[in-house]
């Protein structure tokens, strides 16, 4: 099972599965192999003195998860509809993170060969975390590079 999952992510293989998420008007895709779970955000504890992108910490089944406000991370304006954000649970270097997003969409199977590099005029904040773009019917899907999303330069805020 796990081997097959790994193969799904292999560039040699044509198809990659993406969990699609919405942030504002934009559709993003996260490789499904990196997504641990999707959960509703409840009881977030804010962390004073942390970087602005860090929304806080929360308890997810006994683990402490660091929540990252993806709107802040991508330089999008604050959400105003007042609805509770959703979170995508991911793991990196043994630590758990939750990426706060507006809503989760379906899982798409996309051909890696159709992935295009970032357009040169893409907003720099987006370009920093994007691993390319898929052209779908009627809209574009920006592929998020999870590791680059998490690389926020810890030292700066210290």
């Amino acid at each position: 099972m796990e081997t097959r999952m790994a193969n799904d992510n292999n560039p040699g293989d044509m198809l990659t599965e993406y969990v699609t998420v919405m942030l504002g008007e934009q559709l993003f895709g996260l490789p499904i192999s990196r997504v641990q779970d999707v959960f509703m955000l409840e009881r977030l504890t804010r962390v004073p003195l942390s970087q602005p992108e860090i929304a806080g910490v929360l308890n997810l089944r006994g683990r402490i998860v660091t929540a990252i406000d993806m709107r802040r991370r991508l330089g999008l304006p604050k959400r105003e509809d007042g609805r509770k954000p959703m979170a995508i649970g991911i793991e990196s270097k043994g630590e758990s993170y939750g990426l706060l997003i507006d809503s989760v969409g379906e899982v798409l199977k996309l051909d890696e060969n159709n992935r295009e590099p970032n357009p040169v005029n893409l907003d720099t904040r987006l370009a920093r975390v994007s691993a390319g773009v898929h052209r779908l019917e009627g809209q574009l899907l920006v592929v998020l590079d999870v590791d680059r999303v998490l690389d926020m330069g810890e030292a700066i805020a210290a």
């Binding site: 004073p48 806080g56 929360l58 089944r61 006994g62 030292a155």
Partner: protein, 897 residues
């Protein structure tokens, strides 16, 4: 890694540690065949396993060492040289094992050097002086290479000194194995008769030991950690379930859930227990270290260990290992003298280092004591002065214990010469910071020529911490209880109120000024708050009085909830840079909470406060000195730009009142203050009493009455020497002194009190019931204190005679004038307070006069000494109420008598 190999490595490393310890014991007690057998068996096992696993290098080394030990068994006398050689062989084996662990194969190389040495020893060993025990008959030179006891063939000739197979087999069979060894089969050592009962007891011990060994299994630490995490989660889930059931009365889940709850609690306790390890594990390497040191330093050292089975969390154990080793090294190197020196001092040649451990409350106390020369106070003094930690004058006033504390200051090493053992500049400061890290403390006691001891106090476990849950800015935080001293509720109208000196909030707590820090602002959670509405807020709140090292400060929080035992979880790497937090945890209600790091706050406070942040220890020393010859002064401005000052200890409170509240009655300005009318007095005529805005006041209270001294501006609180250099003719001004580099007028409070209350003095007389005025002799070399306290004493109804020295005091006492009580300073040039007390007591005419000491030094030692020389009481220099109370008591005594 191969399972077999891994097992071998863990087992062998453990065995080698035991061999280390046992060898040292054996050297001291060469006739103890039991120890030797134990070593022999262990080395033999190692050799055997190496052969089996195909590790020729290890096998050859173990074999050579075993041969030499075989000679010991045969009765060859045990020499230090031989033991050293075997120990270095074991070191080599350990090095190879390390390599093996990393690369999974034996490193290439030769050990001919060690093996040759060992073989030489084995051959040259003098013939056994005595026949070896019958059971292990010497057959070292047996030419056969086949064994008879079991069939085994060695495919070559015996190497020099090699033990025959038979003998090996016999030895192997006869040495007490780990299991099922009846006590009777312990080989009778040469001295069996000499120790009839002792070995029997010992073997009983061993038997029970072996049983324990049989009942324990090896578990990977990771497995335990995982178990611990799972149990924590179980506890959280249980709490949630309990919460749900609480909402549903008559739930059928109630009973089984209660059961589940109990089981969970027990499980948690059980898992915690698995983390506990005896402190002996951290001591295991010490006998060997001490032995090597003794050889290197040519000293004779005995290491005593008590309470090795005292248990503590393995995480703490790991952290404490290095500091302990360092301190034992220190004791051996610096503490203990050479045998010659010890002989000269009439001590036994062998020095002793004693390690002991025991539980006390939720802590474990570890003591490292030696019977050596003690700390060299003079050297520490010199070093403290040369490294600028204190001035000579400050040092002179310190007690020995205070001076000894300097060894914990950063970069402090008194070792004159750098030896390979210690004195490399990393010293006790590192030890202290290591211990600080785990929330422990370390203290030193030293007596010249009879030794020193270090006392370490550390928490039992780091995994579970008792914390105080507080609220700030709408969020909850946990503060470790270990550093919380007390809680104070501050309210505008209560006794405890947050006051401000410029912009620095402070709290007066039992005559000490406590710097305060608002958690909300420290965490920058108050941004965007409306400032106007927060004036009330600024004066209210809960103050968590916190102590870090010797620094005490108050953390102001909005609310305090309860205490909770929490399981500390490490913070995410994204948050680890925030120095204010040491970790986070999940509370019983399932929410995540940040744990405040008092160390981080103390550091932040240091950078915010204008006070210089020296090392904590130096600060503490400064503080002591402060009591001694510097005075806390409140600097303010009134009427002129030049600063004025008054000793802070005389000021009860700093106030800012609304100027519109000032009323005029009977030509005097008054303000309603805490339900009383408080008269306001101006420092001089130039001071304008404001009509709008706020008016700063210094409030002085005495016996239920208060007066307000009107000033223009409160500038600062400083610590400085108070030397009145130019005395003054202006009423209300004692004179001028240099305070922080500025000429400053020192205000005489004794002048203002009667202005505020015309009856201030008379009232006191009445209070004393109109009885005879008592005469009091006040001795102090400082004109300032004479000026300062005389009005106070007069106000209390005494007829005061002041003199500037003890000699003058004796004259007055002998002149036949009636003196009812003497109040004297301690530190005076020439004859000091102690001398005066002795002189007064020695003279039959004056021996009944009560004598009260007044001193900046109110350390227990000083008070003890005071009592010894005959002081009737001992009062701190600025403790006015204390002095008056002491006077009343003493004069009442005298009257009754």
């Amino acid at each position: 890694m191969d399972d077999l190999l891994r097992e071998f490595l863990t087992e062998t490393n453990e065995s080698l540690d035991v061999v280390d310890v046992e060898l040292v014991r054996f050297e001291q007690d060469p006739n103890n065949a039991k120890i030797l057998d134990n070593i022999f068996r262990l080395v033999h096992t190692i050799k055997g396993t190496c052969g089996f696993l195909g590790l020729p290098r290890l096998e050859a080394l173990a074999h050579a060492a075993e041969t030499v030990m075989g000679k010991f068994r045969d009765g060859t006398s045990v020499t230090g040289e031989a033991v050293t050689l075997i120990l270095s062989t074991i070191d080599r084996i350990k090095a190879i094992l390390d390599d093996l662990e990393q690369n999974q194969e034996e490193p290439a190389g030769q050990d001919r050097d060690l093996i040759d040495e060992l073989e030489r020893l084995a051959i040259n060993a003098p013939a056994p002086a005595k026949a070896a025990p019958a059971e292990a008959a010497p057959a070292a030179t047996a030419p056969e290479t086949t064994g008879e006891l079991t069939y085994q063939v060695l495919e070559r000739q015996l190497r020099p000194g090699e033990v025959s197979l038979d003998e090996l087999e016999r030895a192997f069979r006869e040495t007490p194995g780990p299991k099922f060894t009846p006590p009777s089969s312990v080989p009778n050592a040469a001295k069996a008769a000499a120790a009839m009962s002792a070995p029997a007891e010992k073997s009983d011990d061993e038997k029970s030991d072996s049983k324990v060994a049989n009942q324990s299994i090896r578990v990977n630490v990771e497995t335990l950690e995982h178990l611990m995490t799972m149990v924590s989660e179980l506890v959280l889930t249980r709490n949630q379930l309990l919460e749900i059931v609480r909402r549903h009365e008559d739930s059928e889940f109630k009973v089984p859930l209660q059961r589940l709850s109990n089981v969970t609690a027990e499980l948690q306790e059980g898992v915690m227990k698995t983390r506990m390890q005896p402190i002996g594990n951290a001591w295991q390497k010490l006998p060997r270290i001490v032995r090597d040191l003794a050889t290197e330093l040519n000293k004779q050292i005995e290491l005593e260990m008590h309470g090795a089975d005292t248990e503590l969390d393995r995480q703490v154990l790991d952290l404490i290992k290095d500091p302990l080793t360092h301190m034992v090294r220190n004791s051996a190197d610096h503490g203990l003298e050479t045998p010659a020196e010890r002989r000269a001092l009439g001590k036994p040649e062998k020095g002793t280092i004693r390690l002991s451990a025991y539980h006390e409350g939720g802590h474990i106390i570890i003591e490292i004591a030696d019977d050596g020369r003690g700390l060299n106070t003079e050297k520490i003094k010199a070093k403290a002065i040369s490294s600028g930690l204190a001035t000579e004058a400050q040092i002179e006033k310190m007690s020995e214990a205070q001076i000894h504390k300097y060894i914990f200051a950063a970069g402090f090493s008194t070792a004159a010469k750098v030896t390979s053992v210690s004195g490399r500049g990393v010293g006790m400061d590192v030890v202290r910071s290591n211990i600080d890290q785990i929330g422990g403390t370390v203290d030193v006691k030293s007596v010249d020529c009879s030794g020193s001891s270090f006392i370490i106090k550390i928490p039992l476990t780091l995994a579970i911490v008792s914390t105080l849950i507080v609220e700030a800015g709408g969020d909850r935080f946990a503060i470790p209880q270990l550093s919380v001293v007390e809680l104070v509720r501050a309210q505008t109208n209560s006794e405890h109120k947050i006051e401000r000196i410029k912009d620095t909030p402070v709290l007066r707590l039992r005559n000490k000024l406590l710097p305060l820090i608002r958690l909300k602002s420290l965490l920058k959670m108050d941004e965007g708050e409306v400032q106007a509405g927060s004036t009330n807020d600024a004066e209210n709140g809960f103050i968590v009085v916190t102590q870090v090292g010797n620094q005490t400060f108050g953390i102001v929080v909005d609310g305090v909830f309860h205490t909770e035992e929490i399981v500390v979880k490490p913070m995410s790497t994204k948050l680890r840079h925030i120095a204010m937090f040491s970790g986070n945890t999940i509370l019983g209600d399932g929410s995540v909470i940040m744990i405040i790091d008092p160390n981080g706050i103390a550091r932040a406070l240091g950078t915010i406060a204008t006070a210089t942040t020296q090392s904590e220890e130096a600060n503490a020393v400064q503080h002591h000195v402060g009591q001694d010859n510097t005075t806390s002064l409140l600097v303010f401005r009134a009427g002129s730009p030049e600063p004025k000052a008054v000793p802070l200890s005389l000021v009860t409170r700093l106030e800012e009142i609304d100027a519109t509240k000032i009323e005029i009655s009977n030509n005097r300005r008054l303000v309603q203050y805490r339900g009383q009318l408080m008269p306001l007095v101006r420092v001089n005529d130039e001071v304008q009493i404001r009509t709008q805005g706020t008016q700063p006041l210094l409030v002085f209270s005495d016996d239920g009455r208060s007066m307000g001294l009107v000033v223009d501006e409160i500038v600062d609180i400083v610590e400085d020497n108070l030397n009145i250099e130019v005395s003054s003719e202006v009423p209300g001004v004692l004179g001028s002194a240099v305070v922080k580099g500025h000429a400053t007028e020192i205000i005489d409070m004794g002048y203002f009190l009667p202005i505020a209350f015309e009856d201030w003095l008379r009232r006191k007389d009445k209070a004393l019931g109109g009885s005879v005025t008592r005469s009091l002799l006040f001795v102090d070399d400082s004109a300032f204190f004479r000026n300062m306290l005389t009005p106070v004493l007069k106000a209390a109804g005494y007829h005061v005679t002041t003199v500037g020295g003890a000699e003058d005091a004796m004259e007055v006492l002998k002149s036949g004038r009636r003196i009812d009580v003497v109040v004297t300073d301690i530190d005076m040039p020439g004859m000091n307070g102690f001398d005066l007390a002795q002189a007064v007591l020695a003279d039959p005419e004056t021996k009944d006069v009560p004598i009260i000491a007044l001193s900046g030094l109110t350390s227990p030692e000083a008070i003890e000494r005071g009592r010894e020389v005959g002081f009737h009481d001992f009062v701190a220099k600025f403790d006015r109420p204390g002095l008056i109370a002491a006077l009343k008591e003493q004069t009442a005594h005298a009257e009754a008598a």
